[in-house]
């Protein structure tokens, strides 16, 4: 049986027993539970799973994401959110009422525009976005940083602890897209970028929040 936080590769047997259940990124093969991706083992109650080191973004309802408008249709926009499928932002997902007989949709969002949006609904092969959440907006100023989506939970930290210390030290507004994009606006943007690069490099280490706090103190 593999230990908690042990490094595994796809094909590694995590446990050979029917007493355990396969969680995320694992599959059952007869008596064995086997890893699907490379990462660290996580054991919770009777569920054994793998936290991947590298992964494309897998959309989940309720996630905030940064997307790029790639096409305009009669009833909404097609948005690239860096996942296996294109997302759709319907007119009904906008805050304001839009009369399509009188408005040119490209005046609201044009091809190439970046948006910060919420995932409303996910089916097996399609994703629907919404801009109704007060946090959602069109991105016009600031900087956009890309990191591996698998590392986003570390950037947020437990209960948002990591992102809040970065916000405090830099005075920037930070909007995190679960799909691997981080939008930084105002304040000490350079400092935020350096801190996030640090997380990117040392994401798997313990005591990361303290490390970043120390780094921010030294470089503030």
């Amino acid at each position: 049986m593999k230990k908690e936080k042990e490094f595994v590769l796809p094909g590694d047997v995590l446990v050979k027993s029917l007493d355990w259940l396969p969680g995320k990124n694992c599959y059952r093969d007869g008596e064995e539970i086997v890893a699907k991706k490379l990462g660290l083992v996580q054991i919770k109650n009777r569920v054994i799973s793998v936290i991947p080191f590298n992964s494309i973004y897998l959309p989940r309802a309720g996630d905030m994401v940064v997307g790029k408008v790639v096409d305009i249709q009669s009833n909404g926009w097609i948005v690239d959110i860096n996942t296996a499928y294109d997302a759709f932002l319907p007119l009904a997902g906008m805050k304001q009422f839009i009369d399509i007989t009188k408005t040119d949709l490209s005046t609201i969002l044009d091809v190439g525009d970046l948006i910060y949006a919420k995932i409303e609904r996910v089916s097996k092969t399609s994703v629907y976005l919404s801009m109704k959440d007060p946090l959602c907006k069109k991105i016009q100023t600031g900087r956009l940083l890309t990191i591996n989506p698998a590392k986003i939970p570390r950037v947020i930290g437990r209960g948002g602890s990591m992102v809040s210390i970065i916000k405090k030290a830099s005075g920037s507004k930070i909007f995190i897209g679960q799909n691997g994009f981080i939008w930084i606006e105002g304040g000490k943007e350079e400092l935020v970028i350096k801190a996030i690069k640090l997380i990117d490099r040392e994401f798997y280490k313990e005591g990361l929040t303290d490390r970043v706090a120390k780094f921010l103190e030294e470089n503030a």
């Binding site: 796809p10 094909g11 047997v13 086997v34 991706k37 990462g39 798997y204």
Partner: protein
């Protein structure tokens, strides 16, 4: 005992180096050197499948694009798909498909680009080794890695991992790809003339060689994510 031109024992592999994560903008990548043969693989996706009419409703499409770069051999290789490279794309795809959970991404596409930078026999096996490390590096859900090696028979002796000099002497050339954990064969081709008993022994030798390569692949991925990550 047979003496090989490079001083190896008959059942010895060429020196192998594997590095994962060599291409920054790819989701996953790997470089594999088996002797002089060098292959680079880069994985992009899963992403939306285009053209649309080729989408599969129940699973993702795995696209393997194998190419030898023009300077990879003594004589210049004409760029672009050839009869040979089209076949290799197909056999490499079929060697990798059984280990990937393609059904997790219906209507999507996974691209694996494999370039052979230097060719000295065994390019398809080097390509498979590189592609499987690159796929694991990209975090594509997989059942296991895939390892591959070619075997042959020279002067009545079974030899592992042929070079192109040896390829001219061998009675047969038998590339094999296996899923190491279960020892399931995903690729087996045979050129030449040998008896069924020989084939059995050759496959057994190839399986042994694949296990060594499998360990190297594992080490490479571990180095990339644990040791190099610590820098």
């Amino acid at each position: 005992m047979l003496k090989r031109a490079d001083g190896r024992k008959p059942e010895e592999l060429r020196p192998i180096t594997i590095r994962a994560g060599v291409i920054e903008q790819a989701n996953g990548s790997a470089l594999v050197q088996m002797g002089k043969t060098t292959a680079v693989a880069a994985v992009y996706g899963p992403k939306s499948m285009y053209p649309r009419h080729l989408r599969l409703p129940d699973r993702a499409v795995l696209e393997t694009i194998y190419a030898m770069v023009p300077f990879s051999t003594k004589e210049r290789v004409r760029p672009g798909p050839s009869r040979r490279s089209i076949e290799l794309c197909k056999v490499i795809r079929q060697a990798l498909e059984p280990v990937i959970f393609l059904e997790e991404f219906p209507k999507a596409q996974i691209d694996v680009y494999i370039d052979i930078l230097q060719a000295d026999a065994g390019t398809r096996t080097a390509a498979i080794n590189a592609a499987s490390v690159a796929l694991a590096d990209a975090g594509v859900p997989m059942r296991d890695l895939v390892s591959a090696v070619a075997v042959g028979k020279i002067d009545g002796e079974y030899v592992l991992d042929l070079t192109s000099e040896e390829e001219d002497l061998t009675a047969c050339d038998l590339p094999v790809a296996v899923i190491p954990r279960k020892e399931q064969v995903t690729l087996m081709q045979l050129d030449g003339d040998v008896s069924p008993e020989d084939v059995k022994k050759l496959v057994r030798l190839a399986l042994k060689g694949c296990q060594t390569i499998y360990q190297k692949q594992r080490e490479a991925l571990k180095r990339r994510w644990i040791d190099e990550g610590a820098k």
